[in-house]
């Protein structure tokens, strides 16, 4: 089973998510290790202690998380469990230009452009779309093409519905991968 990450990827390979803003500015850099792929896409473990950085801010991840790179679609998602001190359990970043490159000396680099539109599920089960104001602002200031902006909004609405309905892979599938990362 392969997703966007090439079939020769092995569990344990380093995978670095390098996020950009649409205007070319650097955004979050998130390291992790490859777990494997299923029919939905690729799963990457981000252990507690990983240094997550962007210009101006960096922190060590407070708890384990698993990142999901879908086989297709304009997003990446991060899943947490109850060890996470914050309220998020699912955090979906709408994104474009998703690309996977080999990363020397070993591993893979996922490049993507964060479109500042998010779908979130909280620990209490509330599902909402976040940062619509930021998306609206950047749509103008960063000059998002109209067709791309419309596609992002449509994808966002669809993902919101899927998360709300707890459709796979937003049905707990991620927790199996999260636990796999811990073993």
């Amino acid at each position: 089973m392969t997703g966007r990450i090439p079939a020769q990827a092995q569990p344990g390979d380093m995978v670095v998510f390098r996020n950009w803003k649409y205007d070319g500015g650097a955004h979050w850099l998130v390291p992790g290790t490859y777990l494997g792929a299923d029919s939905f896409g690729d799963w990457i473990f981000q252990p507690a202690g990983s240094l997550v950085a962007r210009p101006g801010v960096a922190f060590f991840a407070a708890s384990d998380a698993v990142q999901f790179l879908p086989r297709e679609g304009d997003y990446v998602a991060t899943f947490y469990d109850d060890t996470y001190p914050g309220d998020f359990r699912i955090y979906i970043d709408l994104a474009t230009g998703i690309r996977v490159d080999p990363l020397l000396p070993a591993g893979w680099e996922v490049q993507l452009t964060d479109m500042d539109l998010d779908v979130i599920r909280t620990a209490g089960g509330r599902v909402y779309i976040d940062d619509e104001d930021e998306f609206a602002e950047h749509r103008v200031t960063m000059d998002y093409p109209e067709a791309l902006a419309a596609r992002m909004q449509a994808s966002c609405r669809s993902l919101y519905e899927q998360v709300l309905a707890q459709a796979a892979p937003f049905d707990g599938t991620a927790l199996t991968w999260l636990n796999k990362g811990r073993t």
Partner: protein, 186 residues
């Protein structure tokens, strides 16, 4: 812009990764040196002076070393040399400007992409050489072509050569191709 990218082998033999940088133009620094496993306090990251950044970077490097992270050994990296043909043997004011602007352009573009670091620049007769240490030579060559063309920095006078870290004399031209003459550093 100073920049640090470090790796560590985890218990399974896989590599893990940290990256941090200071952007002089914006006075922004990425640093964190708390205890791994706990969300620690982010340092004052804005309006950081170059001197303060240096000490923050040193502290970050020390924390990484303590946690078992190290930079990729030079032997596992390559030299990628951006070379400009100059009109005069010694280079004039315009060439000094080109040196400064190209160095800044490459440094910033490469740092945010983890492509490598500018290690030195030099003028040799009729040439300006900019030496970049890169973990992935092919990506660095592509990166140089993109950033120097976008910055409109005399792209038609640019050549790029690649050499193993321990053997600069073995430098081979990678841009433009095919090479009309052998790539020479002097």
């Amino acid at each position: 812009m100073s920049f640090l990218r470090v790796y560590k082998k985890n218990n399974d033999g896989g590599l893990v990764f940290r990256e941090a940088w200071f952007d002089e133009d914006y006075g922004q620094f990425v640093v964190n040196h708390g205890t791994v496993g706990h969300q620690s306090t982010t340092q004052d990251s804005k309006n950081v002076t170059a001197e303060a950044a240096e000490s923050l970077m040193d502290a970050f490097a020390a924390q990484c070393a303590e946690d078992g992270y190290a930079e990729l050994p030079p032997g596992e990296q390559s030299w990628v040399v951006a070379q400009y043909a100059l009109k005069t043997a010694a280079g004039g004011d315009r060439d000094r400007y080109l040196e400064d602007k190209a160095k800044r352009t490459i440094t910033e573009y490469f740092a945010w992409r983890g492509l490598g670091t500018v290690e030195k620049t030099e003028f040799v007769p009729h040439k300006l050489n900019i030496y970049v240490m890169a973990p992935d030579a092919a990506k660095a060559v592509t990166g140089l072509k993109v950033c120097l063309r976008e910055a409109k920095l005399d792209y038609t006078k640019l050549s790029i050569g690649v050499a193993p870290h321990n053997n600069l004399a073995a430098v081979k031209q990678k841009h433009p191709l095919p090479a009309k003459t052998a790539f020479s550093l002097n």
